[in-house]
Structure formats: structure tokens, C-alpha cells
């Protein structure tokens, strides 16, 4: 049947899939946007996609989502639906067409969050087994205090599910957020080795982090294109 793997065999997938992962406030989105600029400057075709951003899925769920209380399972399934829509509509076709696809969060976000919410570890992994393995998955490692400072300075109002309030960790939304994020870090750390994350120290300067990322990217580029790569002036 048409599994991702068989499509890969038949047509090949010339594009590159680059993923950034990490808790909120780890600086991953900033880094991904800088990477996008650099790749575009070097004439690559680039597509950037964000977690939980499918318009289609949003329009369909928005009606019910406010009324219904989400359980860990429905929460997980709705995010998987969103991912599947972006995967089927954008990510896979664009990779097959040779694009650089930059994903701000990927299946590892679901692994971390859903398991923290109480879903079964294997169940979540098997659900996402149609997804392609990224060519590079960067994990932005950051101490909880630094990420909290970054988040709270820019965006003081926390959302209910974002803070993990559904888990009854604490009645205080900031305390809940902190505990929830710490648990997510544990999940990321536990999968870092197995999933082959390229770990970036997110306490470093923005430029320094970007440099490390570009070096990693250079290694997966074909020889021909490597010679022509330039820094953005």
C-alpha cells in the first residue's frame, strides 16, 4: 500500500526536512526563521510550517473546541489530524518536489506532550509512524528559568492547555506551566539520543546558535551546491 516508505522507494525524496524542537521560549522559532532567510538567500526553495496551524482543521474544530472539554486522547488526536493535514497537503509533496521543508515542531512535540498528558507512549508513536524521519532534528536545550523569563516578558497571558491546566498540576497557572514544561523537558531528554537530535545549547547567543545550525546543514547538502553557499551580507 501507499506508505511513506514505499513512496520513498518509488520516486525518491530529493527535498530536505529540517525540524526544530524544544519547549516554549527556547528560541527555536527565531533560529528557524534565520535559517529560512539564509536558505532563501542561497536560492533554495523553502517552505516553513508550524505546529497546530492547519486552517482546514482549525475551521472544523473551532466550533466544538470551546464547548467540549478535551481529554488527553482527543487532544492528541486533534493535533495528529492537524499534522496529517499539513503532512499530506504540504510537507510530503514539497519534499518530493525538492523543497527544504522547515518544521517548527514535529512529531516529537506530540511524543512529549501527549505522553505527559497521560497517553500511552507506544500508542502515540504508532499513530505518527506515517511521518518521515527528518534529515535533521535540532533540539534546543534550555533551563526552565530562562525559558520562563523569555515567555513571560513577551507574552504574559498563558493559555489553558498551553499551561497544562487540564492536568491539575497546580491551581496557579504559572506554577502549572512551570511543572508542565519541566515534564516536557524530561520527555525530550529521554528521546534525544534515540531520535538522534542535534542538541543546541539555547543559552548561547543567537548568532552562535545559528552558526552551529548552518554547519550541520552544510553537511547534508549535496557537494555541487555546497561550493556556492554564501553568508547573508
Amino acid at each position: 500500500m501507499n506508505t511513506s516508505r514505499q513512496i520513498l522507494k518509488k520516486y525518491g525524496i530529493p527535498g530536505k526536512l529540517i525540524v526544530v524542537e524544544g519547549i516554549d521560549g527556547s528560541g527555536k522559532s527565531t533560529q528557524l526563521r534565520l535559517l529560512e532567510k539564509w536558505l532563501r538567500f542561497n536560492n533554495f526553495e523553502v517552505f516553513r510550517t508550524e505546529w497546530n496551524s492547519s486552517d482546514m482543521v482549525k475551521s472544523i474544530t473551532s466550533k466544538g473546541k470551546k464547548k467540549a472539554n478535551l481529554t488527553p486522547t482527543t487532544f492528541s488526536l486533534l493535533h495528529a489530524t492537524d499534522f496529517a493535514d499539513r503532512f499530506e497537503r504540504n510537507i510530503l509533496p514539497l519534499l518530493r518536489a525538492g523543497y527544504f521543508v522547515l518544521a517548527d515542531r514535529y512529531i516529537y512535540t506530540a511524543y512529549a506532550r501527549d505522553v505527559t498528558r497521560g497517553c500511552n507512549r507506544m500508542w502515540v508513536r504508532k499513530m505518527y509512524d506515517f511521518a518521515l524521519k527528518p534529515d535533521l532534528a535540532f533540539y534546543f536545550r534550555v533551563p526552565i528559568d530562562i525559558s520562563m523569563d523569555r515567555i513571560l516578558s513577551g507574552r504574559p497571558k498563558l493559555k489553558y492547555y498551553e499551561a497544562g491546566m487540564d492536568l491539575n498540576l497546580s491551581n496557579d497557572i504559572y506554577q502549572s506551566y512551570r511543572i508542565f514544561q519541566s515534564k516536557i523537558i524530561e520527555q525530550y531528554e529521554s528521546m534525544a539520543k534515540l531520535e538522534g537530535f542535534a542538541v543546541i545549547d539555547a543559552t548561547l547567543g543567537i548568532k552562535e546558535q545559528q552558526k552551529l545550525m548552518r554547519e550541520k546543514i552544510m553537511r547534508i547538502l549535496p557537494q555541487k551546491t555546497k561550493r556556492t553557499i554564501q553568508e547573508i551580507p
Binding site: 500500500m1 501507499n2 506508505t3 482546514m56 482543521v57 475551521s59 472544523i60 474544530t61 466550533k63 466544538g64 473546541k65 464547548k67 467540549a68 472539554n69 478535551l70 481529554t71 488527553p72 486522547t73 482527543t74 488526536l77 486533534l78 495528529a80 489530524t81 496529517a84 493535514d85 503532512f87 499530506e88 497537503r89 498528558r117 497521560g118 497517553c119 500511552n120 507506544m122 500508542w123 504508532k126 499513530m127 509512524d129 506515517f130
Partner: protein, 268 residues
């Protein structure tokens, strides 16, 4: 029932009812033996490890079958009968959840969801109903009559080229029903029943999204055959009880009622 108007009367009436409950056979709601819920998953691959395994006292009965196989008529008849027998009954079906029930109808109109996306969408909708409707009703002692269950959802996935194993893993969070019937109807006969109902074939029940044929009639037949073939596999794997749905409504109902009564007599 007489309406109770004044307070002292109400007290006496309610104690009277309690006495009746103890002595008379047909009490308002017949209670069913408690048991542990059974899930398709296990500790390695269950979907809802966070759900505490409370005992349930209700029972879950599923009617599966293709479009126009007479499921809803049968469920109506069964509901009336079970209620008359003193059971509390809840009807559920696919596509009716608070979460996205409306959304699925809307998406169907747009016809632009990929196969994996719609598979997960239906799973989310089902999970919502399972957790918010079916499980609470079972805990409260209801007989839940479900108009379709995970089997239809899995069959639809398979005929669209999704691996069976992926679907069965996905639905490992589901509760195992106590009884599942499959109304087996010849696809050609189905067409006639559909036409008798509305003179046109439903886009999705014809599998028109799959591009099986330019011809809607042909598409319907091919699609229904594919589903029926997949159900042959599901019947064996999940032990569905096959009922010859080519018979009349009344004949089918007699068979269903007999089997359900026999089952409930053992547990009620």
C-alpha cells in the same frame, strides 16, 4: 403516572416506589451485573491509561452494516423493546460528537481532506463520544446501542490504502463491545434501498472520493463490495455476528432481539 402536587403526598409516593422496586420484577431501571471494562489495547498499547478502571454496569451493543442496511430502524425497534423490558437505553452513532460532529459534515462538503487526515478526524470524533457519552452511560448502567463503531472506521481506512495494523493500533483505545452485529446486505440490494429512500446515491457512501469509476452507480457497487470484503476480515478478527440483512426488517429484528435478550438475561 399521576402528578404529585403536595409535599406530604410526594414523600409517601416515593417510599411506595422504593418498596415496589424491591418486590416487583419490572422495576423502573433493571440493574445489570457490574464488571471490569475491557479495552482493545493492553498495558503496552492502550490509548487511555489515564482513565481509571471503574467498574461498569451497563452493556455495549453495536450494530454495524453498510449504508441503507437498516441499522437505524433496527436500533429504533430494539430501543423500544429494551425500554419496555425495563432497561435504560442510550443510542449513539458516528459523526455526532460535540467536538467535531458538525465539522465532519462541513469537511465532507469540501471533500479536501487527505485519507490520513480524515482517518484521524473520525478517530478524534469517536474518542470524544466514547469518553463523554458511551463510557459515562455504561458506568450509569445503560444499555448503549451504537449505530456503527470502530469497525466501519477501520474498514473505510483500509479500502483507502491505509495499513490495517495502523488502524487497529489507533483504535486500541476503544472499549470492546459486549455484542456486535453486522447486517450483511448484497450491494445490489443496497442500491435499491438507497433509491427507495432518496433517489440519489450519497457521494461518500459511494466512495466517490476514491475515483473508482466515472459512473456513480458503478462506483457505489465497487465501493460497497470493497467494504463488504474488508468486513469479512473484520468479522473473523473481532468476532462480529453476521446477520442476513437481505431478510425483511421484522425478520432481522426477531433474530437480533432473540440474541440480545438471551445475552441480557444472563447479566441482568
Amino acid at each position: 403516572m399521576t402528578r404529585i402536587s403536595s409535599r406530604p403526598k410526594k414523600t409517601s409516593a416515593s417510599t411506595g416506589r422504593q418498596k415496589r422496586t424491591r418486590s416487583v420484577k419490572t422495576d423502573p431501571v433493571r440493574s445489570i451485573k457490574k464488571r471490569k471494562p475491557v479495552w482493545y489495547g493492553n498495558s503496552k498499547l492502550g490509548g487511555m491509561p489515564y482513565l481509571q478502571e471503574h467498574d461498569i454496569s451497563g452493556r455495549l451493543i453495536v450494530i454495524e452494516g453498510p449504508d441503507a442496511s437498516g441499522r437505524s430502524t433496527q436500533i429504533e425497534m430494539l430501543t423500544a423493546r429494551l425500554e419496555a423490558d425495563g432497561f435504560a437505553v442510550l443510542n449513539t452513532g458516528l459523526k455526532r460528537s460535540e467536538l467535531i460532529g458538525e465539522g465532519i459534515l462541513e469537511a465532507k462538503r469540501n471533500v479536501s481532506l487527505g485519507k490520513r487526515t480524515s482517518a484521524l478526524f473520525y478517530a478524534a470524533d469517536f474518542a470524544d463520544q466514547l469518553e463523554h457519552k458511551i463510557i459515562p452511560a455504561l458506568q450509569a448502567g445503560y444499555v448503549v446501542l451504537a449505530d456503527r463503531y470502530i469497525y466501519t472506521l477501520m474498514a473505510r481506512n483500509t479500502v483507502r490504502g491505509i495499513r490495517r495494523l495502523w488502524s487497529s493500533n489507533l483504535y486500541s483505545f476503544a472499549l470492546v463491545p459486549d455484542l456486535t452485529f453486522y447486517l450483511d446486505v448484497d450491494p445490489f440490494k443496497l442500491v435499491h434501498r438507497v433509491f427507495a429512500k432518496k433517489q440519489s446515491l450519497d457521494y461518500h457512501e459511494s466512495g466517490a472520493d476514491m475515483g473508482l469509476s466515472e459512473d456513480m452507480f458503478e462506483s457505489f457497487i465497487i465501493y460497497q463490495r470493497k467494504l463488504a470484503k474488508e468486513f469479512e476480515h473484520l468479522k473473523k478478527k473481532y468476532g462480529l455476528v453476521s446477520i442476513d440483512g437481505n431478510k425483511t426488517q421484522e425478520q432481522v429484528n426477531i433474530i437480533l432481539q432473540k440474541q440480545i435478550s438471551r445475552f441480557l438475561a444472563k447479566v441482568a
